[in-house]
């Protein structure tokens, strides 16, 4: 970790988790590296991001690398919402890179990110899945703390399966003239999705109020939802997931 410099350029943190299957078939965490605001704790339910500092703040540059070996399982959760805040160091960034080996399973479902007033946050996720790998990837975004107008938030998710693109999906909320119109958010203040990838998914599309279950061209289903609150968003996503899981 590099602590904030005197000029206010923010944290630079690089955390990592490695999960591998041992000879008995059980998954062991063979690597668990916390760094600065990315504090990780191993629990029976999975690895928790416990958030050792508020933020990310403008200027923070955070990265988390997840490696799931062949046949291993890893669940990642967080203890609380991440609140993207402005700072003197310009924009903030959180990049997650994940590689899941053959027949491995990654379940990444942290609490929501809240885009606070004045933030300028970029979230990047790059996930590569090997043959037979299973993914559950949830991203939830709440626009603003109570009653405030959110700052800028851009999130991109890139997922490949055996090096073929499965989903490349960017949600740019950096210009209210665009995302404030009827085509992008439709007035919602909470938006999110769950990507399920792997074999055996139910591939019937569904559309309801503020919820769509979208079977992808490749082996995956994207559940996407729009809501007024974080709780409503979670309910919709959970329902959509139950439909996609078959």
């Amino acid at each position: 970790m590099s602590p904030p410099a005197a000029g206010g350029t923010g944290y630079r943190a690089r955390a990592a988790v490695t999960a591998e299957r041992d000879a008995t078939g059980r998954t062991r965490l063979t690597g668990l590296r916390s760094d600065g605001p990315l504090a990780l704790r191993e629990t029976p339910e999975g690895v928790y991001l416990v958030g050792a500092a508020a933020g990310p703040l403008g200027g923070d540059d955070l990265a988390l690398d997840l490696t799931v070996g062949a046949g291993a399982r890893l669940a990642v959760r967080s203890a609380a919402a991440m609140i993207a805040l402005p700072g003197r160091g310009g924009g903030s960034r959180f990049a997650v890179r994940a590689a899941v080996g053959a027949d491995g399973r990654l379940d990444f479902a942290p609490e929501p990110t809240v885009a606070a007033a004045g933030c300028d946050h970029r979230s990047v996720a790059e996930i590569s899945l090997a043959r037979g790998a299973v993914l559950r990837w949830r991203e939830e975004l709440v626009l603003g703390r109570h009653g405030e107008v959110a700052g800028r938030h851009v999130a991109r998710l890139d997922v490949t399966v055996e090096d073929r693109p499965l989903l490349r999906h960017e949600l740019r909320l950096d210009d209210p003239a665009i995302h404030g119109g009827r085509a992008v958010l439709g007035g919602a203040t909470a938006v999110g999705g769950v990507l399920l990838a792997g074999p055996g998914l139910h591939t019937e599309p569904f559309a309801g109020a503020g919820l769509a279950v979208l079977p992808l061209a490749g082996p995956g289903v994207l559940v996407t939802a729009l809501a007024a609150t974080a709780d409503e968003l979670r309910r919709k996503l959970s329902y959509g997931e139950s439909l996609a899981s078959g």
């Binding site: 119109g181 439709g186 992808l216």
Partner: protein
Amino acid sequence: MDTALLLLADSRLPAGGHAHSGGLEPAAAAGAVTGVADLAGFLRGRLATCGLVAAALAAAACAHAREHGARWDLLDAEADARTPSPAQRRASRAQGRALLRVVRGAWPHPALAALGGDPHHPVVLGVAVAAAGGGPDRAAAITAYGSVTGPASAAVRLLGLDPLAVHRALADLAAEVDEVAARATTAAAGGWAELPAASAPMLDLFAEFHLQADLRLFES
């Protein structure tokens, strides 16, 4: 601009574009677009998301055809990966098929045979521009332009909006269309994995809702 490229941009091109509203019909049915002001916001959002993505794919396809490339299956997968809605994938391929028929007759090009029978619309449009002698910047411009003119004319038909007011809204968007085309052209000069992937969750929802509607004037 060459006349061949004007023909490709013309809504009178017999490629079935008039049958697609770009999500405007379901948005109107849901009451999300009722007048010219809503429409302008809708078009701006569509341009910055689907429009940018399609323009970049068209520019990439145009460049690939000019370089005699053969990775059409990968570009098709890149288009699929940027189109999570099955209804939108179907609409894109339906328009791609229709455009392919026109282009095969009017502007024969070896890359057209390599696209298969069911290509995505922006990919065909990019190859068509190459076949008609244009570059990636023209492919991006024609695609970005079509991403707003189609829904705008659908709005006139569906909502009975004043065509003069709708065209004023389009004229107000012209600089943004140019900017999106320029960004798409720049992006297409890089790797395909990094091409824009801007999404519009409401458009995805509208596209799926549209298939459930009892009465539809447009296919998408």
